[in-house]
Symmetry: D3
Subunit: 133 residues, 6 copies
C-alpha cells in the first residue's frame, strides 16, 4: 500500500492531467505508472519532477540507455525497490540486453564492495585525484 | 588518517607486491593509489579485489568509461568520499568530458530525488515492470 | 514475515506487558502496533526504546507534529518501509494535512537531490558555516 | 578538494551569474556558498536547482525553519557532510535555538535507531497504517 | 517479483550447475536459495561471488557465527530485506540463540543512533584514535 | 569543525559532568572523547545515550569485542567517519588483532556486495527463511 492514494485520470486536477498527457505523448504509450499517480496529489511537484526528468534523461553527451543504467545503479544503492524495478524495465525497453544487465550488476556489486572497504579503512584521498593538480 | 597504515612497496609481502606489479602493468603507470596500499595488509583480499575489479571493469558490452560513470554513481549514493574522488578521476582519464560529467551529475541528482519520493510515498511496483509479464 | 514472531499480550512477559500498558495509556488506544510486538522478545530493549521515544517525541520547543515529520524524513532517507508507514500515519493522526504532507515530500526530495550533488561534487564546507566563526 | 573547480563570479557564464544575482537578492547577502559555485559549471542545472529550492523552501503550510530542520534530518541520514553544515547554519540563521537543535538531534537519533530495529526485525506493516482504511 | 527470472537446475548452464553442486556439498543440503538462482544468469559472477563468500565466511580468527552476525548488521544498515532474512536464518542455523539475536539487535540499534548523532554533530575525529599514534 | 562546540569539563553542567565521571570510571581513563563533549550540550540525551551504551556494550551472550566489531560494521555501512574511527580504536583496545580486523573487513565488503546484488535483482525472500516455518 502507498502512503497516499493512486489517483486515476478522473481524480486528478487539470494541471496534473496535462502532465499525464505530456508523459503519454513523450513515451508513446497510454500507460501512466504508479509513481506519477501518487505524485499527482501535488500538481506543482508533478510538473517540476516530470519536466526536469524529461530534460535530464533526454539524449545528450550520454545516450538515454546509459542514463537509465546509471539510474538503476543509484536506485540500487539507495535501496529504492520501486525505482529499481521501474528503471530496470525502462533500461530493458531502451535496449539493455541481459548481458549488459549482467555487466551493470557486476559494476554495482564491485562498487558497493570497494565503497565499504574504503570507508572501513578511511583511506585518505590521493592528491593525484585533485582535478586542479 | 586511515584506520590502518598505508604500506610502501618495501613493507608489503611478496604476494602483495605481485598485485602491485599487475596494477602497474595494467594501468601503465608506476603510481599505486592509497586504496591498494591500505588493502595490502591482507594480500588475499588485495588479490581477490584487484582480480575481480580488473575483470569487471574491462571492456565488454559496456565500455570502460560507462562503467566508471556507473561506479561514480554508486559511490556517490553510498557516500564514499574516497571512491567518488578516485572514480571521477578515473572517468576523466578515460575520456569523460566536463559536459559528460555534468550529465552524470544530473542523472544522479534526479535519481536521488525520485528514489526519496518513491520511498516516502511507498509507491507499489506496477505489474507492468515484471520481466516475466 | 518478520525475523521473529510478533508476540500477543498472552505471550509477553510481565515486564513487557507493563510497557504495553503504558503505550496504551499514553496513546489512548488499545492498539499495540507490530513494532512493539516484535521488540517484546527483549523486555529491557522494549522498555528502553519506549521510554526514550515517549520522552523524545513529547511536546518541547518543537511540537509533536513537527517531530513526526522529521521522523518521516529520516525514515525515508534510511529506506525503512515500516517506519515510513507508521510515522506518516502518526503525523496524519497529529494533524498533518495533505498539503503539509506534500510540502514535507518536496523538502525530502529536494534534500535528497542536493545531498547527492554535494557528495558527487565533494564541495568543501564554507568556513562561514562554522558555528564558532 | 572538490571534483570540480569552484567558479568565481568572473569565471561563470552570464546565465549562471543571473542565478547568483537571484540568490543574493533572495537571501539579502553578497555571499554565494561553495555549493552554487561548484554547480555553476552547468548553468541549466544551477538554474533548475535554485528555482526549485527557492520554491520548496518558501513559507507555505510549513514554516521555513521547520523545512530547514527537515533538510538537516535528511542530510544527516544521507551522510552529506556539506549539507549538514550548510543547513544547520541556515536553520540557526532562521531562528533555531540550541534547545531546538537538541530536540532535532534527539528525534534524528531516535528515528535512526528504530529504523534499524524495524529493518533488522523486518516488522510487517500494520494494516491500520493504510491511509485508505 | 525479481528483475530477472530465478533459474531452475534445468535452466542453468553447466558452469552454473557446478557452482550449485559446490553450494550443496559445502552446506550439506539440496536446497539452493533464490539469490543464487537469480545470479546464475551470469555464471562468472556466480562463481566469483560464491568462491569469495565461501572463503570469507569460513572459520578463521573469527568464528562463522560471529561472521554471520556481522553480515546481518551490514545488511540491516544497507536496508537489504533479502539479506537480513537470509543471514538471520543462517546465523540461527549456526547457533545464534534468541538471546544472542537480541544482543545483536541492541548493538545495531545503538550504533545506528550514535552514527546519526555523530554525523549530525559532525564530531571531529580524536587524534587519539590514530592507529599510528 | 563540529556543528556545535566541544565542551570542556569547565563548561558542562553538573549533570553532564556526572556522566563524564561515570565514563571515566567505567573506562579507567581520564580521556573523554569528542563525541561526548559534543553531546554534553544536552545532559539528558548525554545521560540516556551513555547509560544505554554502557548496558548494550557490556559482556552478555556476546563478548564486548564481538559487539565492537558489529559496531564497526554498522558504522561503515552508515558511512559514519567518526564512528568508524572510534569503534575501530575501541575494538583494537579490546583485543582485535590485525588478522581479526582483516576478517572483519572481508565480511563487511562481502556483505556490501551481495546486499547490492540482492537489491538490484530484487530477489524474493525464500519461504525457507521464515523463522516460524
Amino acid at each position: 500500500m502507498a502512503t497516499v492514494t493512486l489517483l486515476s485520470d478522473e481524480e486528478v486536477s487539470a494541471d496534473a492531467l496535462a502532465v499525464f498527457d505530456d508523459i503519454r505523448a513523450t513515451r508513446g504509450t497510454e500507460y501512466i505508472n504508479n509513481f506519477w499517480r501518487a505524485l499527482a496529489h501535488d500538481p506543482v511537484m508533478l510538473r517540476a519532477t516530470w519536466d526536469r526528468l524529461k530534460h535530464v534523461m533526454a539524449p545528450g553527451m550520454l545516450d538515454p540507455l546509459v542514463k537509465e543504467m546509471i539510474y538503476v545503479a543509484v536506485s540500487t544503492a539507495n535501496g529504492c525497490e520501486y525505482c529499481v524495478h521501474s528503471h530496470t524495465a525502462a533500461a530493458s525497453a531502451k535496449g539493455m540486453s541481459p548481458q549488459m544487465h549482467t555487466e551493470l550488476l557486476a559494476v554495482i556489486g564491485m562498487a558497493a564492495q570497494t565503497n565499504a572497504l574504503a570507508t572501513a579503512l578511511q583511506v585518505p584521498v590521493d592528491p593525484a585525484f585533485d582535478p586542479n593538480s
